[in-house]
Symmetry: C2
Subunit: 319 residues, 2 copies
């Protein structure tokens, strides 16, 4: 199986660096600039470089494409890749609305191609291990999840953070992790959402709090901010104890506290980088023609995002 | 100045144990049972014991009364004490509605008496020290506060926790601390409140999440539960760093993290128990005829509680 990278920016470098799988080969990279693609290919020992996405997608030996362009461009690039008959592994956020997701999902189904989001939380080994542990221990009902994600980003940054035309804002940048985390543990997707969102004058969401509730009456608070820092520790609380997961976006361990205050550390085997797990999992799914369960989680996250944006009055130029 | 205790239950023991002030004397205790009052007085070396509240309140040598009865009885007992011309220091929650608070506040004003709530957060030295530190450091705008308070209480407990007739429920029991904490840092009281509250079949609130927002766009999440445990760490996040305050209901220190991740511990002088500070502060306020700033915070908290209870549909038998 042959992989290609579409886009040669920062996140593409990580993909190339952590690409280690016995069942696939990192074969090509494409950028709008041939010089950039060539330099990237040389640095990361990738056999082929293309100066145009369309040219690369015409290469019939490529099976799967990793999309590493800005959020605002994923939708068009996913369509381009699926149209060319390639499986697609897209950086998060995969698309910027439920409508877009339904469209690309349908296209993938029609073409019998795999489409999935490169979301670390779907792929690091901790979460399946933790869910098994929870089942084994019988912790009672899930009562509450708290997921903060804050990171000071400056409005004058040259990056996409405060640029609406590049789908900036805390929700798409960091909120996608926090919401995915919440949905990893909630028994069913939220049926009620309450939120306050503070929109920066640049036209993107800067600070927000989100309250989720599902039919099981499980509650979750998600806090996002570009204007402050917060300890990046998620809490998942059951009737019979709670977990604290530091650095939950790619965590290797969780600390469980029982009702008597006794602590247990749950360690996941994580000898590889999160990206290596992602690439392996997508490769195996394609080669084994396995189920594609993460797409449903992506759908749940984007559905919540639609609701939040409507509540906040957050409209992007490309909407 | 002479103090008396009205009620001889668990919290009254703590009051007596930590009563250490040079400007006042713990002079009397009253219980509905004379035997109980006498035993309490002997154990805590209190000169006088009364078998009736009315009898004690007729003792003209008593200046101030500490009310240590269940939440559901504070309102009547406050009126009784003020009516007898005594200053009143009431256990939290002081009353169970804004209407009750307005009534007893007006009575205290008419009688020229002091009335205040025994809320640790008003009195431990950490908070004024922290607010001074924040001003000195210029931390920018307050962006977000997170205040969890959860503690597993069983529905079959003989205590008041799940008894609506005794004003049980998480909001009145532990929520009062969490809301007071939030209001200690918010620049102005919340103008918008969003909440989900889960009412137990016993008729009290068991788990809830509360979102607060004020006109400065400062956001807060408050989480309360009798059905799970949570780490009791409050977070207060400014543009230029955040505080973590463990055991915030009577904390002695806060840990500040700056935007580079550097940590500073702010230690408060706390050689005394929280109760000793409370008793000293109330005594000094009365003897020095000082301002009574905490009553306004109590009013803000009870106003929020009214809103929450209405939103949750939580009605008590005594409403």
């Amino acid at each position: 199986m042959k992989w290609a990278i579409l886009g040669a920016g920062n996140i593409a470098k990580d993909f190339a660096r952590y690409f280690k799988t016995e069942r696939a080969e990192l074969y090509a990279v494409a950028s709008r600039s041939l010089d950039k693609a060539t330099a990237f290919a040389e640095k990361h020992r990738i056999p082929v470089a293309y100066g145009s996405y369309e040219e690369m997608l015409a290469d019939e030996s490529i099976d799967a494409v990793y999309i590493a362009t800005p959020h605002s461009h994923h939708y068009e690039h996913i369509k381009l890749c699926l149209g060319a008959g390639k499986h697609v592994f897209s950086e998060k956020v995969m698309v910027t609305s439920r409508k877009q997701l339904d469209e690309v999902t349908q296209l993938a189904t029609e073409k019998n191609l795999y489409l999935a989001e490169a979301m670390t939380i779907f792929h690091v080994p901790l979460y399946p291990q933790l869910k098994q542990w929870i089942t084994n221990q019988d912790l009672g009902k899930l009562k509450y999840i708290h997921v903060p994600y804050a990171s000071v980003r400056h409005a004058d940054s040259p990056m996409y953070f405060y640029k609406p035309e590049l789908a900036g804002g805390a929700l798409f940048d960091i909120g996608t992790y926090a919401l995915t985390f919440a949905l990893t543990f909630l028994t069913s997707p939220p049926t009620n959402i309450l939120t306050f969102g503070d929109i920066h004058e640049a036209g993107v969401d800067e600070t927000s709090v989100i309250l989720l509730k599902n039919k099981e009456k499980e509650l979750a608070t998600v806090t996002l901010s570009f204007a402050t820092e917060l300890p990046q520790i998620a809490v998942v609380a059951y009737e019979k104890g709670y977990f604290e997961i530091a650095g939950y976006t790619r965590a290797k361990q969780a600390v469980f506290t029982d009702p008597n205050g006794n602590k247990t550390t749950i360690d996941a085997d994580d000898s590889e980088h999160a990206f290596t797990h992602e690439i392996n999992n997508f490769t195996n799914m394609v080669l084994d023609k396995a189920d594609n369960p993460t797409l449903e989680k992506t759908r749940q996250v984007i559905t919540i995002m639609d609701t939040l944006r409507e509540e906040w009055g957050l409209v992007y130029p490309f909407d």
